[in-house]
């Protein structure tokens, strides 16, 4: 005769923990991985450019595009809550541009980027630049599937921009201190901003630029072109 199998189970009213281990940002990370895979399949280098509103991201991108578009095919995704102002400016420099309007979201996410990538002629692109929404907090959390992340600050944001927003620099591979032609007027020492960035992220590569006056942009563009090889 077969003996009845004993069953141990929770009793009525018993309290216990059940493991879920759900990554709450998993969906974004998964889509970002897919984006990266798709870009790599087409041999595209992608850079996510983050920074506050008015840091000079758009002007800097326009200048980078002007320099690099002589040799490489470039596409730019512009993230903003609304308008196509940035996209219109960058387009004139010779890049394929798509505007992503987030509506009310303070950052781009991997899903929005995936949608935009689908609209691009990927087999005709070498470099994808993504201009994130102007914000120094939320974009850091949401990876997009890019190979490098750049943070742009400007001297007009004051001498404490880096120390006040340390976390975004932990995410960055490249730091840019822009508008250096205004350093004396603003009483800001770019070297101090640079050492603050390096203290937070020891491996960060930092450039001092003035996108408007074409200072240091060539160096930055050369650095990016070396990544493309």
């Amino acid at each position: 005769m077969q003996r009845k199998t004993k069953i141990i189970e929770s009793i009525d009213g018993e309290i216990f923990d059940i493991e879920l281990s759900e990554d709450l940002l998993k969906k974004n990370k998964e889509i970002a991985k897919e984006n990266k895979k798709l870009l790599e399949k087409h041999n595209i280098l992608a850079i996510d450019i983050m920074g506050a509103i008015g840091a000079g991201k758009t002007t800097l991108i326009t200048k980078i595009v002007s320099i690099l578009s002589k040799k490489y095919k470039i596409a730019v995704l512009c993230g903003d809550l609304t308008t196509t102002l940035d996209a219109d400016i960058i387009k004139s420099a010779g890049a394929e541009v798509i505007q992503i309007n987030t509506g009310k979201e303070c950052h781009l996410d991997a899903n929005l980027v995936r949608k935009a990538i689908k609209e691009l002629p990927l087999n005709k692109i070498d470099l994808l630049i993504i201009e994130n929404v102007g914000n120094l907090i939320c974009p850091g959390e949401f990876v997009l599937g890019t190979h490098k992340r750049m943070v742009v600050v400007s001297v007009t944001e004051g001498p404490f921009m880096v120390v006040k927003h340390p976390y975004i620099f932990m995410e960055a591979n490249i730091g840019v201190i822009n508008k250096i032609e205004l350093k004396d007027v603003m009483g800001v020492e770019p070297k101090k901003l640079q050492s603050a960035m390096k203290k937070i992220k020891p491996g960060i590569k930092v450039f001092e630029t003035s996108a408007r006056k074409n200072i240091g942009v060539e160096l930055l563009a050369t650095f990016i072109s070396k990544l493309l090889k």
Binding site: S10, I11, D12, G13, E14, I15, F16, D17, I18, E19, L20, S21, E22, D23, L24, L25, E105, C106, H107, I137, C138, G140, E141, F142, V163, P166, Y167, M170, K199, I200, K201, P202, G203
Partner: protein, 133 residues
């Protein structure tokens, strides 16, 4: 604002859990938040309470555990914690993102970016009350 997104995601997982486990009632949550995660503990709790206020889960005990950073050094193979320095400019201990052993900058962060719904604390519903939340 992404604390709201995180809270919404948690509520979605709770609803899915409830569909799978109708004999259990959720009485608490254990969340893991890495120290390098861009999310504020208080705001997550606030949004969770807001999202759950018209349900029977208003007394949910929310426990958030902070996860310390752990790195892997691509140069010497060290895996472990990092150093922090007390710089008065920052109102927190500033992490030193270099290998503690060989000082290399080529490190990968393997812990410290968590944003997980680790587990739920549940209570088995007495048989006569089964079917109710």
């Amino acid at each position: 604002m992404h604390e709201f997104t995180i809270a919404k995601e948690i509520v979605m997982h709770l609803n899915e859990f409830k569909k799978r486990q109708d004999k259990l009632t959720i009485i608490g949550l254990n969340i893991e938040l890495g120290e390098f995660t861009f999310a504020n503990e208080e705001q997550i709790k606030f949004w969770l309470k807001e999202l759950l206020k018209n349900t029977n889960k208003t007394n949910l005990k929310i426990n958030i555990k902070r996860i310390k950073p752990v790195v892997y050094c691509n140069k010497c193979g060290y895996s472990g914690n990092i150093k922090f320095s007390a710089d008065p400019v920052y109102h927190f201990l500033l992490p030193d993102l270099r290998c503690k052993k060989c000082n290399s900058k080529k490190i990968d962060l393997i812990k410290g970016r968590e944003c997980n719904l680790k587990s739920v604390k549940v209570k088995k519903i007495p048989r006569k009350k089964k079917g109710l939340l």
